[in-house]
């Protein structure tokens, strides 16, 4: 399948090995770590995949690891928490804090594998969007300050004539800038232009 990796973080080595044995049946790459710190020490944000981790762990807890990853800023792979009996409250907190999903022990194998697949798909989607966003950013960066001004006013719904009046330019010059913007952003229509400008909004 993809080159996605399932990162298993569990202090209980037997459980970690058993999860690896199970997850490898769906031909996913698996890496196991005995502690949250061990995972952080080799963490590479560019590796696609998802995290499967136990809420309760000695040392840095699963929740703390999630907080650390979030605090780093930027994108981090989705996290699936495994919770023991009676830890539902903790799981809810984890999801509120941005966890992708949680499964309660004892779990159904298919259920866990489905959730892992969903998380990986989500990760791929996020990474794709991330990719698009950075491409878009590069395109927008190629605009000159004047072209940027013209674009903003076009997107604001102003006519060429109104833009010309506002910027103190001739209608003809505005027309030229506008054509240049369309060309640079590979936009074929006004609605394309508006969509692209929206997508480039931060967030």
């Amino acid at each position: 399948m993809s080159d996605a990796t399932v990162f298993i973080i569990d202090d209980d080595q037997a459980v970690a090995r058993s999860l690896r044995w199970l997850i490898e049946t769906v031909r996913l790459k698996v890496e196991t770590f005995a502690s949250a710190q061990a995972f952080l020490d080799q963490y590479d944000a560019t590796k696609p995949g998802c995290l499967v981790l136990d809420v309760r762990m000695p040392g840095m807890s699963g929740l703390e690891l999630q907080e650390r990853l979030t605090a780093r800023g930027g994108y981090h792979p989705p996290i699936i928490f495994i919770t023991g009996h009676g830890d539902v409250q903790m799981a809810v907190r984890a999801v509120q804090a941005g966890a992708f999903d949680f499964v309660e022990k004892p779990f159904n194998d298919q259920d866990l594998l489905d959730r892992i697949q969903r998380a990986i798909a989500h990760d791929a989607g996020q990474r794709g969007k991330e990719e698009l966003r950075s491409q878009l950013k590069a395109l927008f960066a190629s605009l000159t300050p004047r072209e940027r001004e013209v674009l903003d006013l076009v997107v604001a719904g102003m006519s060429n004539k109104a833009i010309a009046n506002t910027l103190g330019l001739s209608a003809k010059t505005v027309e030229v800038h506008r054509a240049k913007v369309m060309e640079k952003l590979h936009a074929r229509s006004l609605s394309d232009l508006v969509k692209l400008a929206m997508q480039n909004q931060p967030g």
Partner: protein
């Protein structure tokens, strides 16, 4: 005529002598009689005085018995009440003597206690002095608890003819005892429940881990077998893992059973180092969750101690938990529990549980063993109190210390087996 005169004179003399003798005899007799009469009178007076004293004594005894606030009664061998004082009448709920005197005492003994009562009477008529308790239902229908001190009464020949019983109402005391007993049971239950609650969380986790691993390994195997792309050899490793995890779960269950089983104290020759290791294992999860580490410093080759290993394990677990909770509560930067065993002298083994927490406030250190004393928001305040009584029931002592720089230390001693034997031998030779 002279001879006649002489003989007359002689006759007169003889007569006179005889008369004199009779007279003297009469006087002596009279004197003796008077003396005897006097003696008789004296005896009579003496007798009268004795009778007087006896009557006085009897009056006094009767007055004492009559005014005695406790029930005093005489019973015949068949249980017939021969005599009873007013306090006794009141106790059995009788208005007049004839309500109970001449009747069987069993009429006021609760049916389920009659056999017990009969047996006690038999013992008294066999010559024993005893104290016994029984439940009574009085003539007025009141249920009461009684305590009787009974002694045999003997006649001049030493034959036992009656039972003298002094009986008092102990209903209130019994009730108090019952309350106290219930209270104790309740305390023990609460303490047990709270420990059980703590343990249950730990047990659930400890069992879930191997069960989850077993399920994962087994399902991994099934999926591969169903997919048809697996060599039998590839399944060996996961199947072995399954076996190992099943054993791990079994080990957890063994511990649970040991803890939950209703049991009497079982004293055996115990390797204290193993008990300490067991306690460290049992509290592993709580330590991990609270980011605390346990350091063991066990001097090898300790003599065995005579102890109930499960109880001592519970004491050590309790001390470890207290330390871990105190350190977590105080957010201690370093959270370490030091467990050590040593042999301060030849006769004892000492177990020390120390921590790097905030220690115990000087004014509180004397109170930590009090029942219901706790510094934990959810605490019951029974742990240390129970721990101390367990250690004391082993003939040892549990002490708390707090260092100036922080850190609490609890230490207790248990007697090494070697010493007990030596002491016994000594005592033995002393007596023989």
């Amino acid at each position: 005529m002279a001879v006649e005169n002489e003989s007359t004179l002689l006759a007169l003399v003889v007569l006179g002598w005889m008369l004199t003798s009779v007279l003297i005899g009469a006087v002596v007799m009279t004197l003796r009689l008077r003396e005897a009469r006097q003696r008789l009178r004296d005896k009579e007076e003496e007798h009268e005085a004795v009778l007087e004293r006896l009557r006085d004594n009897e009056y006094r005894l009767r007055a004492i018995i009559e005014s005695e606030p406790e029930c005093v009664k005489l019973q015949a061998v068949d249980g017939t009440v021969l005599e009873i004082n007013p306090a006794g009448l009141a106790l059995v709920g009788a208005e007049r003597d004839e309500d109970i005197v001449g009747k069987k005492i069993y009429t006021v003994v609760a049916p389920e206690y009659r056999d017990h009562y009969r047996e006690n009477m038999r013992r008294v008529f066999a010559g024993e002095s005893i104290v016994y308790e029984f439940k009574s239902i009085t003539l007025k229908g009141r249920t009461a608890w009684m305590e009787t001190h009974a002694v045999p009464l003997r006649d001049a020949r030493g034959a036992i003819y009656a039972l003298l019983g002094i009986t008092r109402d102990i209903t209130e005391r019994k009730w108090g005892e019952e309350q106290a007993r219930r209270h104790q049971t309740e305390l023990a239950r609460v303490a047990r429940l709270s420990t059980m609650g703590e343990m249950a969380t730990g047990i659930a986790h400890e069992l879930n881990q191997p069960l989850a691993a077993i399920a994962n390994f087994a399902r991994g195997c099934l999926r591969r077998l169903r997919g048809g792309d697996v060599a039998p050899d590839d399944l060996l490793q996961p199947l072995e893992e399954i076996c190992a995890q099943a054993e791990r779960a079994g080990e957890v269950m063994r511990h649970v059973r040991d803890f939950v089983r209703k049991r009497e104290t079982r004293m055996t020759a115990v390797d204290i180092n193993r008990v300490v290791q067991g306690a460290a294992k049992l509290t592993e999860l709580e330590c991990r969750q609270n980011h605390a580490v346990v350091m063991l410093d066990l001097v090898p080759g300790q003599p065995r101690v005579w102890a109930d290993s499960i109880m001592i394990e519970q004491v050590i677990c309790n001390l470890i938990r207290n330390s871990v909770e105190a350190m977590a509560e105080a957010r201690s930067p370093v959270r370490r529990v030091n467990l050590s065993t040593s042999r301060p002298d030849g006769d004892t083994v000492e177990i020390v549980v120390g921590d790097t927490g905030p220690g115990i406030d000087g004014v509180l250190i004397d109170r930590v063993f009090d029942q219901f004393f706790t510094t934990k928001p959810e605490g019951v305040g029974m742990g240390l109190s129970i721990s101390r009584s367990i250690v004391e029931s082993h003939g040892g002592g549990l002490r708390a210390e707090s260092a100036a720089g922080g850190g609490a230390t609890f230490r207790f001693t248990l007697r090494a087996i070697g010493r007990t034997l030596v002491t016994n031998e000594r005592r033995y030779s002393f007596h023989h």
